[in-house]
């Protein structure tokens, strides 16, 4: 961002993993920090499941097109979404990926078509994040890629609650991009989930803990 260009971020995962919330919170925090920010979700005809991609740009100058060809930071939270977004890699892209030996719950696109509105809502799937054991993901073999693996799903499941999985990832992204004050991102979390936190104050604490874990996760991995 030092050269005035926009920082380009993609977060990709399964519907229900909270990908769009991460995008929205990053952009909101950037806006509150006085930066130019733009967030756009991808969305298909399907109302349930599928791969979900969020595009975020943060800049000190006016932002042009809402989408872009290459990402500075690509976050992938599932196998399918990694496949779908590999075209956004360029030399130097930070590749943040989930490497818990836990499989993200995948909603079968074909099944969605058959089941229509009776398909389970993504929110319900969120509770199941990381329930199934699988093979840990590995970064793709791309030139000059800067891969950073985190175990957000495992941490969420073992230490907090699977529902705050995406907030751990948000913490990790915040730490990696370095352009947003963590306190500002925390404020964005509090603002977005105000109603939910009022209902359930315990949830607020869990989210803040998750965010803090995400921040320290990057240091702990020593991969910065």
């Amino acid at each position: 961002m030092a050269d005035g260009k926009a920082l380009k971020i993609i977060i990709a995962g399964e519907g229900g993993q909270g990908v769009q919330s991460i995008g929205e919170l990053l952009a909101e925090a950037a806006f509150q920090a006085g930066k130019q920010a733009l967030y756009i979700p991808n969305f298909g005809v399907e109302q349930r499941g599928g791969v979900s991609v969020a595009y975020v740009q943060i800049s000190d100058e006016e932002i042009g097109a809402p989408k872009f060809l290459k990402a500075d930071l690509l976050t992938v939270l599932s196998k399918r979404s990694a496949e779908r977004t590999k075209g956004y890699l360029k030399p130097g892209t930070i590749y943040l990926y989930e490497q818990s030996a836990l499989e993200a719950p995948v909603i079968d696109d074909r099944a969605v078509g058959i089941q229509g509105y009776e398909t389970v809502a993504p929110e319900a799937f969120a509770k199941m994040v990381g329930d199934k054991a699988g093979k840990p993901a590995t970064p793709p073999a791309a030139p000059a890629l800067r891969p950073i693996g985190i175990r957000a799903a495992q941490t969420a499941k073992a230490e907090l609650t699977p529902r705050v999985f995406n907030i751990i990832v948000l913490g990790a992204i915040t730490k990696l991009i370095k352009v947003l004050p963590p306190a500002g991102v925390k404020e964005a979390i509090a603002k977005k989930f105000r109603a939910k936190f009022r209902e359930n104050p315990e949830l607020e604490e869990l989210n803040f803990q998750a965010f803090a874990k995400g921040l320290t996760m990057i240091e702990a991995e020593g991969m910065q």
Binding site: Q36, A37, I40, F43, G44, A65
Partner: protein
């Protein structure tokens, strides 16, 4: 030459509606509409001129509120649904209304009914909904009943995608079975969505031609910063809606009777009516037409784009100029009427200038550009991506590929 030609929100001219009841209102220089008390939590947002971060659909709902719109009729279609959602959340707080009709045609005709009795009505639609809407829009055109349509373009043809395109340019500017006597603003940012939606209401009720804000799925769904305000705070006068029929006085005694027709018995009758309308449209064109241009005698490539693609073009222009290339930029803000004179001026002086027309459609903007430049011999390159977004990087690559190879000076 670097200029942005935007017109004020209110234009008081003698070129009001060609016929119908207008109470002499516009010719007297207009009148400030009675302002609704925009109080409470929602009102404060406009009052404080807060810089907010929201989606484009949300922005449109706020703009309609600020423009004193009375009623929205609608039928759900992605990507415009949240305009209905936000409007129906905001409207009851301010005594405004919303009705979901059985389809887009019904929504369009209900709008016309609302306008006839003096309500500011609007609607939002997209894609196949925009097609169905053409019938009531054509009627509005024929009878010169005002209305504002927000179009959030999606992929086409047919259901295609719910995401994005610029494929409804032709339909929105020239749909219907007539001459496309409409005013269409193609916006490129949330700030423009807000301001041009307000302006669209003024234009519609001033000129009584169907007026459109042509957005797209990206603008509908993306979040970015916008400053909302009350039009009065910027000195913008809102043109009030008055009943088009049943005005004061006894028809034929105190005033001319109002006879809004969409049926004519003989060809000549229709022709006479259309001649009046076409003349009225010709007169409003210079008052309404808006554009953005950056071009100089050195310019080698002129990027031409509208709507959100113009943002990518502007970004690309900056990147290319930083590389030392001589690239200009032209963006029609009104795509109907089209700023043809301005485009011709930007191009015409320089026979070596190449154009690069960029759009998320397969030549809809291109055909407009070509029509305006008839007779000139400037080469036109294209980057046409129907139903897909265009990035600045792609535009840069297209221009670079085209750039002439370095000339060796006497080595």
């Amino acid at each position: 030459m670097k200029e942005v030609v935007r017109k004020g929100c209110t234009v008081f001219s003698d070129h009001g509606p060609a016929f119908g009841w207008d109470g002499g209102l516009l010719r007297k220089g207009g009148r400030v509409i009675k302002e609704t008390q925009l109080t409470g939590e929602y009102g404060a947002v406009l009052e404080k001129e807060q810089r907010s971060f929201m989606t484009g659909n949300e922005v449109v709902a706020w703009a309609a509120l600020a423009a004193e719109a009375d009623f929205m009729y609608g039928y759900p279609i992605t990507p415009q649904n949240e305009i209905m959602h936000y409007w129906s959340r905001l409207a009851p707080h301010f005594g405004r209304g919303f009705l979901q009709t059985e389809d887009e045609m019904a929504a369009g005709f209900a709008m016309l009914g609302g306008a006839l009795v003096g309500k500011k009505t609007f609607c939002a639609t997209a894609g196949p909904g925009n097609i169905l809407m053409q019938e009531p829009i054509a009627m509005a055109e024929m009878m010169q009943i005002p209305g504002v349509w927000i179009i959030q373009q999606r992929g086409g043809p047919s259901t295609a995608t719910v995401i994005y395109s610029q494929q409804e340019l032709r339909l929105t500017t020239a749909g219907g079975n007539g001459e496309g006597l409409r005013i269409v603003y193609s916006t490129a940012s949330h700030q423009e969505l807000f301001e041009y939606t307000i302006k669209a209401f003024n234009r519609a009720w001033q000129y009584r031609f169907p007026t459109f804000v042509l957005g797209d799925g990206y603008q509908a769904k993306l979040r970015e910063a916008v400053t909302l305000f009350r039009p009065a705070a910027k000195g913008w006068t809102l043109i009030p809606a008055e009943p088009l029929v049943r005005g004061p006085g006894i028809p034929a005694l105190d005033r001319e009777p109002v006879h809004l027709r969409n049926t004519f018995n003989i060809e000549e009758e229709l022709y006479a009516r259309l001649e009046e309308q076409l003349a009225a449209y010709e007169r409003l064109t210079p008052e309404v037409v808006e554009w953005e241009v950056e071009v100089g005698p050195e310019t080698e490539v002129l990027l031409v784009a509208h709507g959100i693609v113009a943002r990518a073009a502007k970004q690309a222009q900056k990147m290319l100029n930083q590389q030392g290339q001589k690239v200009g930029y032209f963006r029609p803000i009104t795509v109907r009427p089209f700023p043809g004179t301005a485009l011709r001026q930007a191009v015409g002086a320089n026979p070596n200038l190449r154009l690069l027309v960029v759009e998320s459609a397969y030549g809809q903007l291109l055909s407009m550009v070509k029509a305006e430049l008839y007779g000139l011999t400037n080469p036109i390159d294209t980057l046409l991506k129907p139903g897909v977004g265009v990035t600045a990087e792609e535009i840069v690559a297209t221009v670079t590929k085209r750039a002439p190879k370095e000339v060796c000076h006497g080595g």
